[in-house]
């Protein structure tokens, strides 16, 4: 497994289970998460990973894309439960506050097949975990930022060695009226109709019985009331465009753990309501319910072998004013993961998944992975994986009034990935370096694209028209070094991704061999962390390469680099820790747009004061 750094404070849900061999998974440092309590998930991912976040402005729609695929090929999960809307097939990352999870794991490409089908790009999983040593941990944090941005977080985590309760509350509001140069109006203006209010609450209880049984129940509620800001060219219209969204998720889980097997049973209910309005012109209500059930069994009783079969059942129900009547979808997914270790240095895995959607079988989704650690003394790992994957169309693709296309076929993906990871820990344990390099080659057939209907320029429909070839390289250098009580950490990620159209719809189509729109070829980010005398400094640099805005690659958004700094100090007294933190975003005040005509803010600041009380079990 190529995790970035194995931090002791980072506990994984899958602690009880062996990981699959040969697939890439990366974790985000918990220290990064804790210093971004006032942010949303899109900020975190755009600054610390090479996943491209297509951002429509500060505090508005932000969707992820990795390995040259779209947001619909990325599954976002909360503790393994799907957060993607069954209507859109994607998640808006600006709606997910960082304070609602303690860990973040990213499964690249085929690694996602162990969780779901259709995530050609990968899976982003937000994790919350119990710490059985905790007795009482209270955190109160208030952040004040530019453009009247206020974030309040209160977490109360308490329990015993067999019971833990996590209560988390967050409230954020922003006027978000940042100034920017509007080059359509040719003057500096303040963004308007961009304010938002976000409220979130989560309660999780974990109960452990005789180290055998683990029960947990989780409730998560989010309410988001936001205005949708205008583009630069529509600034003067003074429209009031608004989306109010509330989502509720309840999960119950039972885990039975024995020496050579364990069983996990989960059932989740999700409900999301959306209310979109545009002045008095539009007033649209959408609502969906999902009932998600997952059963997974792990057996490691046979030597060198781990067998993990399971079954998932999901019922989605959408009630939208844009659909004709209520639409439902039932997805049953039967899967098994087999990990076989024929030899100490060679580990293999096979993942098979069979989806049954509304009574129709999708073709088998298989993935094979191999991990090789050839040397005794050198910590070098090589991995390889191959997979075939299918993505079923979204409910909007199928049923949106007038435009939906019920005849859509699933998208198909073939992918191969080769990776290597090397790490070295000095004898003194003061220096650690990890290098990783992964190459992938992935072919998507029948990709669904909304396009004008042949011969009727007035009508748009989703159709299985595109063929995409995505190939690229991901590399990382992560260094951790302690010297004279200075703690350094230097994390670098680079991604090269060529994702091109391979099929033209006619001889007049100029997109063959051209890069997909809004997918940068190059992305890079570097984070330098310094710690000493309870001061900490995080310097983050990210570069996003040019993104084409036309499929003919004749128009382009130039690449840009952003720098952000976080500087803070922790003061501790007995069990109390007071943290003061200053955050400067867009340090060099770059005037940029990530998406054309969607202005982004210049330099901006956030000051956070955080008080925590921590009483662990001292036995």
């Amino acid at each position: 497994m190529k995790d970035t750094l194995q931090l002791p404070e980072f506990e994984l849900t899958s602690k009880y289970v062996l990981e699959n061999n040969g697939f890439k998974k990366v974790k985000i440092d918990s220290s990064i998460i804790i210093s971004h309590l006032n942010s949303d998930l899109s900020t975190l991912l755009s600054q610390y990973t090479t996943i491209f976040i297509k951002s429509y402005g500060n505090g508005t729609l932000a969707t992820p894309s990795f390995r040259g695929t779209t947001a619909q090929h990325t599954q976002v999960e909360w503790n393994g439960i799907d957060l993607n809307s069954p209507m859109l097939g994607q998640a808006d990352l600006s709606l997910i506050p960082v304070s609602q999870f303690d860990g973040l794991e990213i499964l690249f490409g085929s690694a996602g097949i162990s969780r779901t089908s259709g995530a050609f790009g990968g899976v982003i999983n937000l994790v919350t975990n119990p710490d059985w040593n905790n007795r009482l941990n209270i955190l109160a944090s208030q952040s004040i930022g530019s453009f009247d941005t206020y974030t309040t977080n209160i977490n109360i985590i308490t329990g015993t060695s067999s019971f833990q309760s996590h209560s988390k509350f967050n409230y954020a509001s922003a006027l978000n009226n940042y100034p920017y140069y509007n080059d359509f109006l040719m003057e500096t203006v303040n963004q308007h109709n961009a304010s938002y209010k976000q409220f979130g609450f989560s309660e999780e209880v974990f109960w452990k019985l005789k180290d055998r049984h683990l029960f947990s129940a989780k409730l998560r509620y989010n309410y988001d009331d936001r205005n949708l800001p205008p583009t630069t060219t529509k600034y003067e219209a003074n429209n009031v465009e608004k989306n109010v969204q509330s989502s509720l998720m309840a999960v119950v889980e039972y885990k039975y753990v024995k020496k050579d097997f364990n069983l996990s049973v989960r059932s989740a209910f999700a409900n999301q309501k959306m209310h979109y309005t545009l002045d008095s012109t539009y007033d649209d209500h959408h609502q969906y319910y999902s009932w998600i059930n997952k059963i997974k069994f792990t057996y490691i009783g046979i030597k060198k072998l781990a067998i993990k079969p399971g079954i998932d059942f999901t019922h989605d129900e959408v009630n939208s004013e844009e659909y004709e009547g209520i639409k439902t979808r039932n997805t049953t997914s039967v899967f098994t993961e087999i990990n076989y270790t024929p030899w100490e240095k060679l580990k293999t895995s096979l993942v098979l998944r069979e989806d049954l959607i509304d009574g129709k079988f999708l073709p088998l989704v298989p993935a094979v992975g191999v991990d090789l650690t050839p040397f005794q003394k050198l910590n070098l790992g090589l991995n390889l994986n191959l997979s075939r994957n299918y993505k079923y169309p979204t409910l909007n693709d199928l049923f949106w009034n007038l435009y939906g296309n019920p005849d859509l076929r699933p998208e198909t993906n073939y992918s191969i990935e080769i990776g290597s990871v090397f790490n070295f820990l000095s004898k003194s344990k003061k220096f650690y370096i990890e290098l990783n390099l992964t190459g992938y080659y992935s072919w998507i057939y029948d990709m669904i694209t909304w396009s004008p209907v042949d011969g009727n320029s007035n009508l748009w429909k989703p159709e299985n028209i595109d063929e995409i070839l995505a190939r690229g390289i991901e590399s990382g250098i992560n260094i951790k070094w302690e010297i004279v009580k200075f703690k350094f950490k230097f994390d670098n990620n680079y991604s090269f991704c060529k994702s091109t159209y391979e099929k033209a719809s006619s001889e007049y189509d100029n997109k063959i061999g051209k890069q997909l729109i809004y997918i940068p070829v190059n992305t890079l980010n570097s984070t330098l962390t310094l710690e000493r005398w309870k001061f900490y400094l995080i310097y983050n640099f990210s570069f996003t390469g040019e993104r084409f805005t036309g499929k003919d690659n004749l128009t382009v958004m130039p690449g840009y680099s952003l720098s952000n700094i976080i500087f803070g100090k922790n003061l501790s007294l007995n069990n109390f820790i007071l943290s003061l933190q200053l955050q400067v975003n867009n340090l060099f005040n770059l005037d940029y747009q990530s998406v054309a005509s969607r202005p982004m803010p210049g330099i901006n600041y956030a000051f956070t004061i955080k008080l925590s009380f921590d009483k662990p079990n001292r036995e």
């Binding site: 370096i433 004008p452 011969g455 320029s457 719809s505 100029n510 004749l554 958004m557 680099s561």
Partner: protein, 382 residues
């Protein structure tokens, strides 16, 4: 950063460890330096065939192609096709004014040596001097403007998607008043002292609730004096040599009814003939008439042609699309040549094709994003 660097180098013991740091830092600084501080804005990639961008000496005799641009992308543009040299110039407005035109540029009209570009979603009419294409005025205060029609050299009407017809003073370039309308008005054409305007109904309502009609407006009093009921979504309006008005109705965006072509007697304000299209989902658009006023053209996949004396609708296209997405159509007022645009999949730059009146391919021209409208210079007017 520099401090750290020195610190690392001075500790020989750690020199080997510091190497990756150094390399990374250098790479990082290089990246930081190499990135320009210019604002990050959408731009055109330098063209591969520079000869297509040669500047014509003037915008006297040619065609302005109005490239709509994508909704909310801020990428509308104007392409000029010079009729004397056959050269094209792209991004006229952007180059002359150093800022973009906004988005969904719907139409353009010429009056008194000025061009009036109607930009729908950005809610503006840009007035440009045709000598240099520099903007002299941005007219605001509209309601999602669609088309502009001149009454005389001092006054024009502008139709709007949201509501009302705007009255435009062409001397001061200001909106001097409105004619209240509930909902969307589209095409307009002058007849005698009247302006005929197609009225579609409220934009956000389904066709069943919309009232489709042609409004007859007295241009001296700016009052609606009469109306003529039409098929749903009347989008095209032309007048033939016998002073009969032809209306193209799409049947509704929600396929409410079959599309139709109607002939109206503007004197009696009565529908004289109705030709109904056979297929509800094959929607015609862009009704045009040639310079002699005897032949109608429209798009329905391909380009269709029919004499005004027809007894039925044409069944075969004059020019087939053959994989192209025909989107804009215009007939050259002087030569009668057919100009039809291919907007591809709306996410690529389009192409304009020129055909002779007998549908012989003459030439093709590169255009911008979603070429939809055409505007012929005054010297080209008949």
């Amino acid at each position: 950063m520099v401090v750290i660097n020195l610190f690392l180098v001075n500790n020989i013991r750690y020199k080997i460890y510091s190497l990756p740091f150094l390399i990374s830092l250098i790479a990082l600084s290089l990246f930081s330096v190499s990135c320009s501080k210019d604002p990050i804005r959408e731009k055109a990639v330098a063209p591969e065939n520079p000869d297509t961008t040669q500047n014509p000496t003037s915008y006297d005799e040619g065609i302005f192609v109005i490239n709509e641009g994508n909704y909310n992308w801020g990428n509308a543009s104007i392409t000029f096709i010079d009729n004397r040299t056959n050269a094209t110039v792209q991004d006229l407005y952007q180059i002359a004014n150093q800022h973009n035109l906004g988005d969904v540029a719907e139409s353009m009209k010429i009056c008194n040596g000025f061009g009036f570009i109607v930009v729908n979603n950005s809610n503006r009419i840009e007035v440009v001097n045709l000598k240099n294409f520099k903007s002299v005025k941005s007219i605001t205060g509209l309601q999602s403007p669609r088309f502009l029609e001149l009454i005389d050299s001092t006054k024009a009407y502008v139709t709007n998607l949201q509501k009302d017809i705007s009255i435009l003073n062409l001397q001061s370039n200001t909106i001097t008043g409105t004619i209240p309308i509930y909902g969307w008005t589209e095409s307009l054409i002058r007849y005698d002292k009247y302006m005929l305007v197609t009225s579609i109904g409220k934009y956000s309502e389904p066709s069943s609730k919309r009232k489709a009609q042609i409004l007859v407006i007295d241009t001296q009093t700016d009052k609606i004096v009469d109306s003529i009921q039409t098929g749903k979504e009347p989008i095209g309006l032309v007048i033939d040599k016998k002073q009969k008005v032809w209306v193209l109705c799409s049947g509704g965006f929600d396929n409410f009814e079959a599309p139709s072509l109607m002939r109206i007697n503007p004197e009696l304000r009565m529908v004289e003939k109705v030709f109904t299209f056979p297929t509800i989902t094959e929607v015609p658009s862009r009704l045009c008439i040639n310079n002699t006023g005897d032949t109608l053209y429209f798009l329905k996949g391909g380009v269709y042609q029919t004499p005004v004396t027809m007894t039925g609708l044409p069944t075969n296209p004059l020019i087939s699309a053959d994989g192209r997405l025909f989107y804009g159509l215009a007939i050259h007022p002087k030569t009668g040549c057919i100009y039809v645009s291919d907007s591809k999949d709306y996410v690529q730059n389009g192409t304009v094709y020129q055909y002779s009146p007998t549908a012989k391919f003459i030439k093709q021209y590169t255009a911008g994003r979603i070429p939809g409208g055409f505007c012929f210079t005054s010297k080209n007017a008949k």
